[in-house]
């Protein structure tokens, strides 16, 4: 057994996967699929095996899902993966091929997968904070269970800060649970304006309002009122919204502090090349929403993507590039070029997207239907279709899927 310079025993052939969420699981499975026969050790800070997160803001909040129904079933090929749960990767020395865990132990690796994901960004303002303060985020199973317990109290008043995917889903679910007062606050003039553009944002706004969700738009949060528990949200225009529960859905922060000191670009997630390799280290790759990668399908600008499909897409490509390096293969896979897709369920409506609508937000055209009912819209850049989004029932979302092949067939968009 080889030794590192710091006396850490180096197992022959170990890939460490830092992060045990969906990205970590998919990475482990895809390492096996790519032919890696060495040890795979996955390290995760939650006590749970990987589970599916989209139901947290919907079914878990509504009380219709159990943990068993959320847990992923790992592929049979990943049965021998070593899971170290309830443990955090605290540091890394990439040049020495060692990671440090929060209990002080060090683990040598030949290959490393960065899959540590994101954590919710928190409001920076005065006011009560911490457990029992009535302030919530929705990222983990524990978060969703804690919020559900508070939403089911009679007469509870809820303020959701942030009208993005999570904020809109939580507001819709809270209404479905029978919460009387649900108000969504956002500095933009419409919910989900930036990812979807005005036409669909306006349509969503109307659908939410018709179902009793209130909005405070074009206004920020100045502070929270209350001593031990929140009692109100103070807006920048001086309005005070009474609140027993505040849900903060104001974006997320990449979990990359453990990679500090390695000379990497960690300005927004971890920057990778077109093979998902990190900072000149061919034995280190990144997967999931922590990876900031260029998409060869679009303009070459590296971006993080927080869609559900990204852990699987990135894991497949990153595992091939990592295993090729570890086994000394010279084959270079084609640059990573996923077709983005996302969906969101709000009230009885589904949003379904293919492509990159945000790149075509200046030129939005109705392809089918009507914004008052089921609607399918196309997003264009230089007169080229770059994304489609459906809003409505199953017929609308099936319509969006019909454009997927067309979006896949488009040549790369270089600006």
């Amino acid at each position: 057994m080889a030794e590192t310079g710091h006396g850490v025993p180096r197992s022959p052939g170990r890939v460490v996967v830092a992060g045990a969420s969906m990205g970590g699981l998919r990475a482990a499975e895809q390492l096996r699929a790519a032919g890696w026969t060495g040890t795979i050790t996955v390290i995760g800070d939650e006590p749970h095996m990987p589970y599916n997160r989209p139901p947290l803001s919907k079914d878990v909040l509504a009380g219709t899902a159990s943990f068993e129904s959320l847990a992923f079933t790992p592929r049979a090929s990943a049965a021998d993966v070593e899971w170290r749960l309830g443990t955090t990767v605290a540091s890394a020395r990439l040049d020495e091929r060692v990671v440090g865990l929060d209990d002080g132990t060090e683990l040598a690796f030949d290959g490393l997968v960065v899959a540590t994901g994101m954590r919710p960004r928190r409001l920076r303002c005065d006011g009560p904070s911490g457990p029992g303060s009535g302030r919530h985020t929705v990222r983990t199973l524990a978060d969703a269970r804690g919020l559900r317990d508070e939403l089911t109290r009679p007469g509870v008043r809820v303020v959701v800060i942030g009208a993005g995917f999570i904020g809109c889903e939580v507001a819709a679910t809270a209404k479905g649970l029978g919460v009387g007062e649900v108000t969504v606050v956002d500095p933009e003039p419409l919910p989900m304006l930036r990812p979807l553009g005005e036409l669909l944002a306006r349509s969503l706004h109307r659908r939410h309002e018709e179902r009793g969700v209130r909005f405070a738009l074009g206004v920020g949060v100045a502070g929270l009122e209350g001593e031990d528990r929140v009692t109100g949200v103070v807006l920048t225009d001086g309005t005070v919204l009474p609140a027993d529960v505040v849900v903060e859905s104001v974006g997320s922060v990449a979990n990359t502090e453990w990679l500090d000191g390695n000379g990497l670009d960690l300005s927004d997630g971890v920057l990778t090349d077109e093979q998902l390799r990190v900072g000149g280290h061919p034995n280190v790759v990144a997967v999931g929403d922590v990876a900031r990668f260029p998409n060869a399908r679009y303009d070459g600008v590296p971006r993080r993507v927080e869609h559900w499909s990204i852990p699987t897409d990135t894991a497949k490509h990153a595992a091939k590039s990592l295993v090729a390096h570890l086994v000394g293969s010279v084959a270079q896979p084609a640059p990573f070029a996923p077709l983005p897709t996302f969906w969101s369920d709000q009230h009885e409506f589904r949003l379904q997207s293919f492509g990159a609508p945000a790149l075509g937000i200046a030129d939005v055209r109705v392809l089918d239907g009507d914004p008052e009912g089921d609607v399918l819209v196309g997003y264009h850049c230089d007169d080229r279709l770059v994304g489609v989004v459906a809003l409505g029932g199953p017929a609308a979302t099936t319509g969006a899927a019909r454009y997927r092949a067309q979006l896949l067939a488009q040549p790369a968009l270089i600006s």
């Binding site: 998919r26 499975e29 599916n52 989209p54 129904s69 992923f72 079933t73 592929r75 559900w308 499909s309 699987t312 897709t341 969906w343 379904q352 199953p394 017929a395 979302t397 099936t398 899927a401 997927r404």
Partner: protein, 62 residues
């Protein structure tokens, strides 16, 4: 290979259709139909279909 879809979980997202079109299809009303005993040569694409199901409703048995 035996494929089982939990139809109580399935919400007709149709992502499986893109990965394994010979095994999964959406009918005219947008509901899922599938082949429960596909040829073993399709295992890779069926595994991919199971991975991309947002509801994780697809199970591969043996």
């Amino acid at each position: 290979m035996k494929v089982v879809v939990d139809m109580n979980k399935c919400q007709d997202h149709g992502q499986c259709v893109f990965s394994a079109p010979d095994v999964f299809q959406l009918d005219d009303t947008g509901r899922l139909a599938y082949v429960s005993d596909p040829d073993d040569a399709l295992r890779d694409e069926v595994e991919e279909a199971a991975d991309v199901c947002p509801l994780q409703a697809i199970r591969i048995e043996a």
